[in-house]
Amino acid sequence: MPLTKQTITDKIEIVGQYNHIQVREAIQVLEDGQVISQSYHRYVVAPGETSNDAKVQAIIAAVHTPDVIAAYQQHLQEQSEV
């Protein structure tokens, strides 16, 4: 039976004060359409960053406003070199 592989975005969370978008992708191996193996891959989209995923892009547009991006940049600046 043919095996196929697909990657789906299976969880998107907005966390923290600066609306970081945590994305979990499920990498699935399927046999006859049934998932027989799965692993996870994660990434985080910080304010000011982009994503290739259309669903994530829509969320970015909604929660990463210019004010949020500016506040996050200020937050990082405050943690600059020790």
Partner: protein, 232 residues
């Protein structure tokens, strides 16, 4: 006296020679250490002598399938408190509510992987994230400047109000032609980024990793990064 329902019951030896009807339930009444708590429930199928045991998992009879929990729930351990208010059912400190493992793609600032390789794996237990990542130089890998950040972490770190406490990260840089060098870094609060991987002391941007620090990097030299941080 209220009516009472009692199922068919008997010893293990008696069950071994008993084949119940399909759907019939019986109880093994001798309480050996591998039965809980006062015996063992058997469901019968009309063909299997002794029936099919329903057990929660013991040393001699472990479960053979995964335990699957619903979203947002976990395992609540006894906290051994003496007060009712400390009951394990009300204290979150004893709740193991998350586990996940997977991969992530670290991004090393001012570093061109070329035909080298990078890797990143994580384990999350509760809100504690353990990361292990790194790169190995290929013949076309190159540094474009100082490596002041490592991005792409799988979870955003906490950003405790009024606290400057940060999560320490350890680095190991291996020169295949000579010795290893140790370094340190930190996960930025409220971010998914490791800042300032460096060797020795760090002040004013000194000792950051670069094409010549801590050694002149060549093919097959590698850097591994390991540490833990609390997720937001």
């Amino acid at each position: 006296m209220a009516n009472r329902l009692q199922h068919l019951r008997g010893s293990e030896a008696e069950h071994s020679t008993f084949t119940g009807a399909k759907g019939e339930i019986s109880l093994v009444t001798d309480t050996s250490s591998d039965r809980i708590p006062t015996g063992e429930v058997r469901i019968h199928d009309g063909t299997t002598a002794g029936g099919l045991p329903l057990t929660l998992g013991t040393t001699s009879k472990p479960l053979t399938n995964n335990i699957v929990l619903g979203s947002g729930v976990g395992i609540n351990f006894n906290n051994y408190g003496s007060e009712d208010s400390n009951s394990a059912t009300t204290v979150g400190s004893n709740l193991l509510d998350d586990y996940e493992e997977g991969t992530f793609t670290p991004t090393f600032a001012n570093f061109n992987t070329g035909n080298g390789s990078i890797f990143g794996i994580y384990r999350k237990i509760g809100d504690m994230v353990t990361i292990y990542c790194g790169f190995t130089l290929g013949s076309t890998s190159s540094f474009l400047g100082t490596m002041d950040t490592i991005g792409g972490l799988p979870f955003t770190a906490i950003s405790p109000t009024g606290s400057n406490i940060e999560n320490n990260i350890f680095c190991l840089m291996k020169d295949v032609d000579s010795a290893s060098h140790h370094g340190f870094a930190r996960v930025q609060r409220g971010a998914a980024t490791i800042a300032y991987p460096h060797i020795d002391s760090f002040e004013g941007g000194s000792n950051l990793i670069s094409s010549s620090t801590p050694f002149t990097w060549t093919t097959n030299d590698n850097m591994t990064v390991f540490g833990q941080y609390l997720a937001s």
